[in-house]
């Protein structure tokens, strides 16, 4: 705390204000700046330094291991490539439009063809594909896991029936599921005009199969540990099963359901990369795989960009879930991390 003299000189309002601002407020701001910016910043700097140091000493068959500098260069070039691809696309459509307009001007009865652009997916497109895939898989998992968890939490017998199955499938790696999912999707999803790509569905369902379990388990625990008194209140009021679930069970279990959902989303995002590599879904997993196969001197740097992007997106997804959890949870005092 700032030391204030016991006998203060008489100050004008303005001067008083200035003094207050100078000493106390400034110190508070400083404290906060140190906590929120300086310390994390320091950590990052130390990490970058150590990374560079290590990278200098690792020589691979594809050249030196990329340090922060090369990675930064590669990330810029990935963005440039994206821009170039986009302007090529715009140019393509413009050319097509002009051509078609000319054709129609020459002969009003002519049939014009509109072709869509078939350039290669850029890094940013691939990020978007990955996000879409994980969102789809996570949604499917949630739609199955939450109701299943609620039912198992409510009925001890059902829980005893299903628990061995849950415990058996919980530790299975996505790489084990993938061949099966691929074959099942190929067999069942037969359509002349498919809405989804098969690789997309395979990746999404593999994600769903792997990220189901944390939500199921946490929902069961949340529902099974509802305060006995609250259940008795519900019984005294003779709430019907559905009202009981809606008014008592779900609100009680919401904090643990969300803990499960956060774990599920993190698992799903992790699983997705592996699934995309093997299923060749044009997302970040495929990007890494293609770069690895490509094996140019830039490949390792570009893979490292993908690694960082995967990490940062995972971090952002978790923060979003945390914000949602804080918004929906009734226990505002609870510290959520």
């Amino acid at each position: 705390m700032s030391a204030t003299p016991l006998t203060k000189p008489v100050l004008s309002k303005k001067a008083q204000f200035r003094e207050l601002f100078n000493v106390a407020t400034l110190r508070l701001l400083m404290d906060r700046a140190i906590k929120m910016l300086a310390l994390p910043g320091f950590g990052i700097l130390v990490f970058l330094f150590l990374w560079q140091l290590l990278a200098n000493n690792i020589i691979t068959s594809l050249g030196q291991f990329p340090g922060p500098n090369q990675v930064w260069e590669q990330s810029k070039s990935l963005v440039t490539e994206h821009r170039r691809e986009r302007s090529k696309e715009t140019a393509f459509y413009q050319r097509q439009e002009v051509r078609n307009a000319k054709k129609l001007a020459d002969d009003p009865g002519a049939t014009v063809k509109i072709r869509s652009y078939t350039g290669k997916a850029t890094f940013l497109d691939q990020i978007f594909t990955s996000l879409l895939t994980v969102a789809f898989g996570f949604m499917v998992a949630t739609l199955v896991a939450v109701p299943l968890g609620i039912l198992c939490g409510l009925s001890e017998s059902l829980y005893r029936c299903i628990n061995p199955i849950i415990q058996t499938f919980k530790p299975v790696s996505p790489l084990a599921w993938l061949p099966l999912v691929t074959m099942v999707v190929s067999a069942l999803y037969v359509s002349d005009d498919p809405l989804f790509d098969k690789a997309f569905l395979t990746s999404a369902f593999t994600v769903a199969l792997c990220c189901l379990w944390p939500t199921v388990v946490n929902t069961i625990v949340g529902v099974a540990s509802i305060d006995r008194d609250l259940i008795n209140v519900s019984r005294v009021l003779r709430l019907g099963s559905l009202v009981h679930i809606r008014k008592v069970v779900i609100p009680s279990a919401i904090p643990l359901i969300f803990t499960g959902l956060r774990l599920s989303l993190a698992t799903g995002w992790m699983v997705l990369i592996a699934a995309e590599m093997l299923a060749q879904n044009p997302g970040l997993g495929k990007f890494i795989w293609d770069e690895f196969q490509n094996g140019s001197s830039n490949s390792l740097g570009r893979i490292m960009v993908a690694v960082l992007v995967i990490g940062i997106i995972g971090f952002i997804l978790d923060s979003l879930m945390l914000a949602l959890q804080k918004h929906l949870s009734w226990d505002k005092q609870a510290t959520l991390r």
Partner: protein, 271 residues
């Protein structure tokens, strides 16, 4: 017109399954309660007071005997037998108003209009002097205030019998006295039939028309029933110096500490 058999606990006994022999908690519990009567159940810990209350509430099913309310047997929980729980049992995610609303909507959804429901909720919250905090969450209230809301929720259901499981046990002495006065005042006005479990001899004598004293378990039963013929309204300060009041207190104390020694003490001597 006093119907002595408004609520009848008839030949009630209960056994709980354990890993070994079944545990017999209650045996031959018989009690007839009149409409508007205030009954206290008192006894040492573990004597089955709560079990009796839970059987009346329908939360437990008696192994033998049963509960007859207004000439009909009741064997499942229902809003006609509202329960005030020891730890308020308010839904922590609902505000004070919403907590009472949940109960009111269950009972009066078909018979009251929206405006009537709102008025009724507010009326009951004002009965327990909680009208100032209707939109607060339970976590923002003190223990005494939460218990008031719990009581308001039960009163709002207009139950035939109000069952209270040590409603003031978790509160400090001053808050408890305050709530006891509120409860006496409300009971005087609404003429509720009440069964209350308590550990507190003063509380039992002050509030009750009859005190039901239970013997120690296992196979606990009703030991004695003491009628408290003190005029109402009762004032705790005046009664503190009243010979009749003190005589009643002594009778309860004698039952608890001479006739039915605390099982924990007995173990201490034996062990």
């Amino acid at each position: 017109m006093l119907n002595k058999n408004y609520l009848e606990i008839s030949q009630v006994g209960i056994e709980f399954a354990t890993s070994g022999e079944p545990f017999r908690a209650l045996q031959n519990v018989n009690l007839a309660i009149a409409k508007g009567e205030f009954i206290s159940l008192i006894g040492h810990s573990g004597c089955g007071k709560s079990t009796v209350l839970n059987i009346v509430a329908g939360l437990y099913n008696a192994t033998e005997g049963g509960i007859i309310l207004e000439g009909r047997e009741v064997d499942e929980p229902g809003p006609d037998r509202a329960v005030v729980f020891q730890n308020h049992a308010l839904m922590p995610w609902l505000t004070v108003y919403q907590n009472v609303e949940l109960a009111v909507k269950c009972v009066f959804k078909k018979t009251k209009t929206k405006a009537e429901i709102r008025d009724w909720i507010e009326h009951n919250l004002s009965l327990v002097h909680m009208e100032h905090a209707v939109h607060k969450l339970p976590s923002e209230l003190s223990g005494g205030m939460k218990q008031r809301v719990g009581i308001a929720r039960c009163l709002a259901m207009q139950p035939k019998v109000l069952l209270m499981d040590e409603p003031f046990g978790a509160l400090d002495a001053l808050t408890r006295a305050h709530l006891q006065d509120s409860l006496m005042d409300i009971q005087q006005r609404l003429d509720n039939t009440v069964i209350m479990i308590t550990h507190d001899v003063d509380e039992a004598v002050l509030l009750s028309d009859r005190i039901v004293m239970m013997t120690n378990g296992p196979a606990a039963s009703i030991g004695e029933v003491l009628s408290i013929d003190l005029p109402r309204p009762r004032n705790r300060v005046v009664l503190a110096d009243d010979p009749a009041f003190n005589h009643y207190r002594q009778q309860v104390l004698r039952f608890l500490y001479e006739k039915q020694k605390n099982p924990a003490d007995k173990n201490a001597v034996a062990g």
